[in-house]
C-alpha cells in the first residue's frame, strides 16, 4: 500500500491566517483511491446447496466455497458473495475509516440546532453493562431494573420539562414529533373535534416539523416571523381557526431568540381550541431557567442526543421522549411504566409495571424505543443533577454570546441564547463552511434559517473553552477576509477535496455493486 504522506496539500493552499493552526486530516491513498472498499479487498462467493457435502474453509481472494444446506433447495438462495477478511484486516479497515471522520473529540463542532456537546465516556460503560442486555418479551417481574430505570427517567424528564407524563418510546426527535401530532389528533377526535386538519408551523422551523405534520395527514400552515425574528402575533391570529389542531414551536427559536410573547401565544392557541407543541431541539438553552410546561405548552419532545449528551453516532441512534400535560396522558403510546401498588413488595423497594394508557395511540416503535440511548441519558442527568444541568445551559449561552462578540460577520437578530445566526453577507455560506474545514474546525449549519441571508447558524455548546472559542472565531474571521476563489477551491486540508454533489445525484451509485 502506497500512502501519500500526510500534509501533502500544496503550499498555495495553506490557510492564510497566521494564527490558523496547522491542520491536515488523515488521508490514505491506495491505487488512486482513498481507503479501498471491503469489496475491493476481497469478495468470496459461498455457494449454498444440498449436493456438496463439506464446508471448504479456505478463503483465498475471489474463491468460491460451498456450504451444505439443511433446507430443500427451493427454500434457499443459490449463493452469497461478500468480503471474507481476517480480523486484523478489518481492524485496520475500520480504524482507517474512523481516522477519516471528524468528531466532537476531534475538535470544535458548532453546528447550530444540533447541540453537539461532549459525550461523557462513562455513559457508554453503563449502557454496556451485561444486566442491560435484556429481551423485551421477558416478564415484568424479571425486568424490574429496566422498568425502574425507565420510570426514573420518565420522572426526571417530566420535572425538567414541567410535564405531567412522559413516554420514552419515540426513537428520535422526529418520531417524538410524530407522537405529538398523533396525540393531538387522538385528543381532538376524542373531543369530537376531528375536523381540525391544520398544523401551524413557523417558516424558520426544523424541516421535520413540516414533514411530521404531513405524515400525520395535516395541512401545513406556514407562519412568517415578525421584524424581530419572532412569532408575528397578527399573522398567528390570522392563521388560527377552528381548523387548527396545533401550533409547533421551538423556544428559543432557531435564531436563538426567546419567544417573549409565549404566554400570549399559548392563550391564543388554546382559545382557538388548538394544542401547543414544543420542539425540544433548543432545550439546552433553558435548563433550570424555564420549562415548556410553565410556558403553556401541552406536549413536547426531548432530544436526548442534544440536551442530554447521548452521542450522535454519525446520524443516530437518538431518542425523542415526549412529555404531555395530564389531559393528554391517556393518549400516549403503549406501554408506559408506572409504580405498582405493591402489597407484597419486599425490602421496601418499589415494583414497576407496564400499562396501557386508556386512549393510547398505540405504537410508534416495535418495542420501547432506543433503550441503550435512554440509559445514557439517564446516567447523564443523574450525574449532573440540578446544578450541573443549569450550569450547562449557562455555559452554552455564555459561549454562544462570547463567540458572537468575536466575529466580524453581521449577526442581525438578538438577544440570542445558546445559538446565533450570522450572515456571510456577500459570501456563499456553503463555501464559507468548506473553507472553515481547512482551519481544523467544524463549520456551523449553513443557509438556514432562510430569514438570514447566507446563514451561518452557530452553536458552540457548553463544552468549549475560551481558547477554543477564540480558535473558532479566528477561523470565522480568516474566512471572512478571503476571496471567493479561495472559498470555492476549499477544502484542501481534509481527507477528500470538494465533492461533486451534482454527479452523485444525477448518476446515483449507491452500492459497490453499482460501481463499474
Amino acid at each position: 500500500m502506497s500512502n501519500e504522506p500526510l500534509g501533502l496539500a500544496p503550499d498555495d493552499d495553506e490557510p492564510t491566517a497566521d494564527t490558523a493552526a496547522g491542520y491536515d486530516q488523515a488521508r490514505y491513498v491506495d491505487n488512486g483511491q482513498y481507503e479501498p472498499l471491503l469489496a475491493e479487498k476481497d469478495l468470496t462467493r459461498v455457494r449454498i446447496g444440498e449436493t456438496v457435502s463439506s464446508t471448504d474453509g479456505t478463503n483465498a481472494e475471489g474463491d468460491t466455497t460451498h456450504v451444505d444446506s439443511p433446507l430443500p433447495e427451493e427454500l434457499t438462495r443459490d449463493a452469497l458473495e461478500l468480503p471474507e477478511l481476517s480480523e486484523p484486516e478489518l481492524a485496520r479497515h475500520y480504524t482507517r475509516l474512523s481516522q477519516m471522520i471528524y468528531g466532537i473529540d476531534s475538535g470544535p463542532y458548532p453546528l447550530g440546532s444540533c447541540t453537539m456537546k461532549y459525550n461523557p465516556k462513562f455513559t457508554e460503560d453503563v449502557a454496556a453493562l451485561p444486566t442491560a442486555a435484556v429481551h423485551p418479551d421477558r416478564s415484568e417481574r424479571s425486568l424490574q431494573g429496566t422498568l425502574e430505570l425507565l420510570y426514573r427517567l420518565q420522572e426526571y424528564l417530566g420535572r425538567i420539562g414541567g410535564m405531567d407524563a412522559v413516554t420514552l418510546q419515540p426513537p428520535a426527535g422526529a418520531a417524538g414529533e410524530f407522537v405529538g401530532i398523533r396525540v393531538a389528533a387522538a385528543y381532538h377526535e376524542h373531543n369530537d373535534e376531528g375536523h381540525r386538519d391544520e398544523v401551524i408551523i413557523p417558516e424558520s422551523a426544523h424541516g421535520t416539523n413540516f414533514a411530521t405534520a404531513a405524515l400525520g395527514g395535516y395541512e401545513v400552515v406556514s407562519l412568517p416571523s415578525d421584524d424581530g425574528g419572532r412569532v408575528d402575533l397578527e399573522a398567528l391570529e390570522a392563521a388560527l381557526s377552528e381548523r387548527t389542531a396545533a401550533l409547533m414551536l421551538t423556544n428559543p427559536n432557531t435564531l436563538g431568540l426567546f419567544e417573549r410573547d409565549i404566554t400570549e401565544i399559548a392563550e391564543m392557541v388554546h382559545d382557538a381550541g388548538g394544542l401547543l407543541y414544543y420542539d425540544g431541539a433548543n432545550l439546552n438553552a433553558l435548563l433550570g431557567r424555564a420549562r415548556p410546561g410553565d410556558m403553556g405548552f401541552d406536549v413536547m419532545h426531548y432530544n436526548v442526543h442534544k440536551t442530554f449528551a447521548t452521542p450522535h453516532g454519525g446520524g443516530g441512534p437518538g431518542a425523542g421522549p415526549v412529555g404531555v400535560v395530564s389531559e393528554l396522558a391517556p393518549f400516549l403510546p403503549s406501554p408506559r411504566v408506572r409504580e405498582a401498588d405493591d402489597a407484597d413488595s419486599n425490602c421496601g423497594e418499589s415494583t414497576y409495571e407496564l400499562f396501557e394508557p386508556n386512549h393510547t395511540i398505540g405504537n410508534v416503535h416495535g418495542y420501547q424505543g432506543n433503550w441503550l440511548v435512554l440509559i445514557k441519558a439517564f446516567a447523564y442527568i443523574a450525574r449532573l443533577g440540578d446544578v450541573g444541568l443549569a450550569d450547562a445551559s449557562a455555559m452554552a449561552v455564555l459561549n454562544a454570546n462570547y463567540l458572537a462578540s468575536q466575529l466580524e460577520y453581521d449577526i442581525p437578530y438578538g438577544p440570542f441564547h445558546h445559538e446565533f445566526v450570522a450572515s456571510a453577507g456577500e459570501q456563499d455560506a456553503a463555501d464559507v463552511a468548506k473553507r472553515m474545514l481547512d482551519y481544523g474546525v467544524h463549520p456551523p449549519t449553513t443557509k438556514w434559517p432562510e430569514i438570514v441571508p447566507e446563514a451561518l447558524m452557530t452553536e458552540p455548546t457548553e463544552l468549549e473553552t475560551k481558547a477554543t472559542l477564540d480558535q473558532l472565531a479566528e477561523a470565522f474571521n480568516a474566512v471572512a477576509d478571503e476571496t471567493d476563489e479561495t472559498l470555492e477551491a476549499a477544502p484542501t486540508r481534509t481527507t477528500a477535496r470538494r465533492i461533486d454533489q451534482t454527479s452523485a445525484a444525477r448518476n446515483p451509485r449507491l452500492s459497490w455493486q453499482s460501481l463499474e
Binding site: 481507503e35 418479551d137 426526571y156 428520535a172 404531513a214 454519525g314 418495542y367 477528500a496 461533486d500
Partner: protein, 424 residues
C-alpha cells in the same frame, strides 16, 4: 468573557420574562461519576439473570469484541450526520458498505442507510406503497401473526393516508393461499409477508405470492433480517418490491427491543425512498468519494413534501451491523443461518421426546425458533422455567416458543433437562 459580551453576570443573557421563569429545582442531586455508575449498576442489577430463549423479532446473537472496540472509536461515536462529506469519508464509506451488504442480501438495487427499526420500516414501506400505487386501491394486507408493536406502528404511519390495514389468515404458520387468493384483488396496494414468520417457520409460498401481487399491481413487501437472508430465498428472486426488517440481529446484543430498520427496494422507486442514501461521487482530485445524496427527498429540503419525516436514524447501529457481517464474512453468515436451522430442529426433536410436550407445533421448516405444545398451561410452565433461570415466550394457552439464537449448546442441554422436570 463576560466583559467581552458586555454583561455583569451570565444570568443577564437570559431573555426570559419573569412570570415564566423557573425558580424551583428539579430535585436531582449531582453525583460523582463513580456514584452514578454505582447507581445505574444497582438499578439494573434488579434485572434477573436469565438464560433467554427468546426471539420473535429481537435476538441475542453473540457480538464479537471487535464490533464494540471499533464502533466505540470516538470519531464514529461522536460525529454528526455527514453533511460535510469532506471530513466524514470514513463514516460515509462504512454506510456505503452497509448499503452494499443489504443489496447483496436482498438482490434489490437500493438500500437506505437505516430506519429506526423493523416496525417503522414497515410503516415507511406502506407510505411508499401509497405514493407509488398504480391502482385506485387502499388496502394493506398483513399476517394475522404480526407482532402487536409492528401492527400498531403501521397503523400510526398510515393514519394520515387513505390506507386501511387488514389481516389475512395463516395456515400452519405460512400464508393461507386459499384465503389470500380471495383477499388479493386490484384494491390491494401492499401485501406484507414475513420470512421467517414470527413463529420461526420458513414461508414456502414466496414465489407464488410474488406472482399473485404482481398480477394485481400490488407492492410485495417482505419482512426478514440479514441472518435469515444469508440462507433463505433471495427476495429479488421471489418478486419482492421492498424488504424491511431488523438488521441489528447482527451488531447488537439483546437491547430491550432497540433495533435497526432495514429498508431495501427496487431502483424504480429510488426517488420515493425514505431516509438517507450514501452515494459514490468524485472529489476535486478525481478520486472516488462518498456523500449523502438525493437529499431533495428529505425533510430538511423538501419539508412537508418529503418522503419521510426521519432525520436522526440508526447510523451507528448500521456501522455495528456492517462490522459484525464483515467479521463473519459470507461463510460465517451462511453457517450461522445454517446452524439456526439445524439447532432449532434438534432442540424441537429433544423437546418432542419429553413427556407432556409436542414440538414443533407447525409442520414446517424452522429458523432459530419454534412453537412447542405443552400439556400443562403454558403460563405456568413459563413461570416455572423462569424460577429455574430460563425465559421462553408464551404464545398460546398451551404453547410456548423457544429460540436458540443466542444460546450455547450447554444452555440448551440445561434447558431440556429443566423443561423435562417442569412439564412432567
Amino acid at each position: 468573557m463576560l466583559e467581552a459580551v458586555g454583561v455583569d453576570a451570565v444570568e443577564d443573557l437570559f431573555d426570559i420574562p419573569s412570570d415564566i421563569r423557573f425558580d424551583d429545582t428539579f430535585g436531582i442531586d449531582a453525583r460523582t461519576e463513580r456514584e452514578t455508575r454505582r447507581l445505574v449498576r444497582s438499578i439494573l442489577e434488579r434485572n434477573d439473570d436469565l438464560t433467554e430463549l427468546l426471539g420473535r423479532g429481537h435476538y441475542g446473537y453473540y457480538v464479537p469484541s471487535l464490533v464494540d472496540h471499533l464502533a466505540d472509536r470516538a470519531e464514529f461515536l461522536t460525529s454528526y450526520t455527514q453533511y460535510q462529506p469532506e471530513i466524514s469519508q470514513g463514516f460515509l464509506q462504512a454506510l456505503f458498505e452497509y448499503q452494499s451488504l443489504l443489496v447483496e442480501l436482498t438482490g434489490l438495487e437500493i438500500a437506505n442507510c437505516s430506519m429506526y427499526d423493523a416496525a417503522t420500516a414497515l410503516g415507511e414501506a406502506a407510505t411508499l406503497a401509497e405514493r407509488v400505487r398504480e391502482t385506485s386501491g387502499h388496502r394493506v394486507l398483513v399476517p394475522d401473526l404480526i407482532r402487536e408493536g409492528r401492527d400498531g406502528t403501521l397503523a400510526n404511519y398510515v393514519a394520515g393516508t387513505d390506507l386501511v390495514v387488514e389481516t389475512y389468515p395463516t395456515d400452519d404458520a405460512n400464508v393461507d393461499r386459499e384465503a389470500i387468493t380471495e383477499l388479493v384483488d386490484d384494491d390491494v396496494v401492499m401485501l406484507y409477508v414475513e420470512n421467517p414468520t414470527v413463529r420461526g417457520t420458513i414461508e414456502e409460498g414466496l414465489e407464488w405470492l410474488g406472482e399473485l401481487t404482481a398480477e394485481n399491481d400490488a407492492l410485495f413487501v417482505l419482512g426478514s433480517d440479514p441472518i435469515a437472508l444469508s440462507l433463505l430465498q433471495r427476495p429479488a428472486d421471489v418478486g419482492a418490491d421492498v424488504v424491511v426488517g431488523d438488521a441489528s440481529v447482527l451488531g447488537l446484543p439483546t437491547s430491550y427491543g432497540m433495533g435497526l430498520g432495514l429498508f431495501a427496494t427496487r431502483e424504480r422507486f429510488l426517488r420515493q425512498v425514505p431516509g438517507r442514501l450514501v452515494g459514490a461521487s468524485e472529489d476535486d482530485t478525481g478520486r472516488r468519494a462518498y456523500t449523502l445524496t438525493l437529499q431533495t427527498r428529505e425533510q430538511h429540503i423538501r419539508r412537508e413534501r418529503a418522503t419521510s419525516n426521519i432525520c436522526t436514524n440508526q447510523a451507528w447501529v448500521a456501522l455495528r451491523t456492517a462490522i459484525h457481517a464483515a467479521v463473519l464474512g459470507p461463510t460465517g453468515m451462511v453457517e450461522l443461518a445454517r446452524r439456526d436451522v439445524t439447532r432449532a430442529e434438534n432442540l424441537a426433536g429433544r423437546v418432542d421426546d419429553l413427556v407432556g410436550t409436542k414440538a414443533p407445533v407447525h409442520d414446517r421448516h424452522h429458523l432459530r425458533e419454534f412453537v412447542a405444545h405443552v400439556d400443562q398451561p403454558a403460563a405456568a410452565v413459563a413461570d416455572d422455567l423462569e424460577e429455574r433461570g430460563f425465559a421462553v415466550h408464551v404464545v398460546g394457552d398451551h404453547e410456548i416458543q423457544v429460540c436458540v439464537a443466542g444460546a450455547t449448546d450447554g444452555e440448551l442441554d440445561a434447558f431440556v433437562d429443566t423443561l423435562e422436570v417442569v412439564v412432567r
